[in-house]
Subunit: 224 residues, 2 copies
């Protein structure tokens, strides 16, 4: 039934996600708090990333390690026109509704996105502009957020920036085109699980593997 | 405290496990029954394997596909002197205690092991010999089973043959040396989970990746 729409969309930009995961399938550890937004040991999921030249560059820093992960990361950053993120990526869970509009995200006055960001939430709030990042709060569901993000992205791709719950929802709704896992050989033992409550009918196909220091990059295409 | 023992063991054979896992971390699907011992859709975890020449060969059959997975599988079969398996791999969970000694495993009169097999169980039972496979039932824990398997294996390696629970116990007890995951790009949505209840302190290091039709082989060394 979706065929005509899918065919019509075939020339359009992609909806992509990429995320670091532990070997036991968690993208954030247990006991996520204001001080440890990625939970106990969760920040170590990104040890391979934050040392890279490509990551430091987009964060406005110089230097950094040169290894095969740089090309993987540069590829992911390229051609992204808009991001969609879950409520939990924007703010801590104990922050409650947006009533006072005081919370401006984790990232300070100049967030590193530099593009339109759509936040999935149940609480209405006016858009928030911080330098060239505009956060738009979407309360009418993931399809609406994707529609707005596509419009904002133009010819470019839409990036589903996590957390697990946001990616799982788009995967489950058959709205994701590509998923790259950065598999880190550590265990977290609890936390936010990728693929949780995703329909087992969802099927993927490996596009390529990159073996890198401290991480293995597995890029999948979601089969339609 | 384990240092002297570990040093003493350094020249010994390895304890290895390898198992097919879905992308969502299950090595068997939900609702495991007598008819579907690997649960709903669980048998598809082995679609990549059963077509291979290397697998058919060890099962006494001719022909089969030639691809890079053959070398991976041949490598795993090589140099194994004994296997340890969980109670659930030997028989279905609703089979109850071994009182009547009637259950002889899933594999018929000539099981494909052709070596000593140690079954972890809580129910005592006399050893069972079927051609050149001897099943020994071990009721006094995983360390005892490993000791017996090492003795039976001589210079060769000990293979922890699954299911998830057996591998998880050896991993958690720091008794596993190598773990190879055959990652199949499918979701099972439930079932037996690898890494469940394994201490998050357990740390691994990637040894190598092989990208093959329908599966990605990730071989890890467990760090001590």
């Amino acid at each position: 039934m979706n065929m005509p729409i899918r065919m019509g969309l075939s020339g359009m930009s992609k909806v992509r996600a990429h995320i670091s995961t532990s070997l036991d399938g968690y993208v954030a550890g247990p006991s996520q708090t204001m001080e440890e937004p990625l939970g106990v040991n969760g920040e170590h999921l990104h040890d391979w990333l934050v040392v890279l030249r490509a990551w430091r560059e987009q964060a406005g820093m110089q230097g950094g390690e040169e290894n095969v992960s740089n090309a993987v990361v540069a590829d992911e950053y390229a051609n992204v026109g808009a991001e969609i993120m879950g409520r939990g990526k924007f703010g801590p869970p104990d922050r409650g509704p947006w009533g006072d509009d005081a919370w401006q995200g984790w990232w300070g006055d100049d967030p590193p996105f530099h593009k339109p960001v759509f936040v999935l939430t149940h609480h209405e709030r006016e858009p928030l502009r911080l330098t060239d990042t505009i956060f738009t709060f979407v309360t009418d569901g993931i399809e609406s957020a994707l529609e707005q993000a596509r419009a904002a992205a133009g010819d470019k791709d839409v990036f589903i920036g996590g957390g697990a719950d946001a990616i799982n929802q788009y995967l489950d709704a058959d709205l994701l085109d590509e998923l790259e896992l950065h598999v880190v050989p550590m265990l977290l033992g609890g936390g936010s699980r990728l693929f949780d409550r995703v329909r087992p009918e969802v099927s993927l196909e490996l596009l390529r593997v990159v073996e890198a220091p401290g991480v293995t990059h597995l890029k999948y295409r979601v089969l339609k």
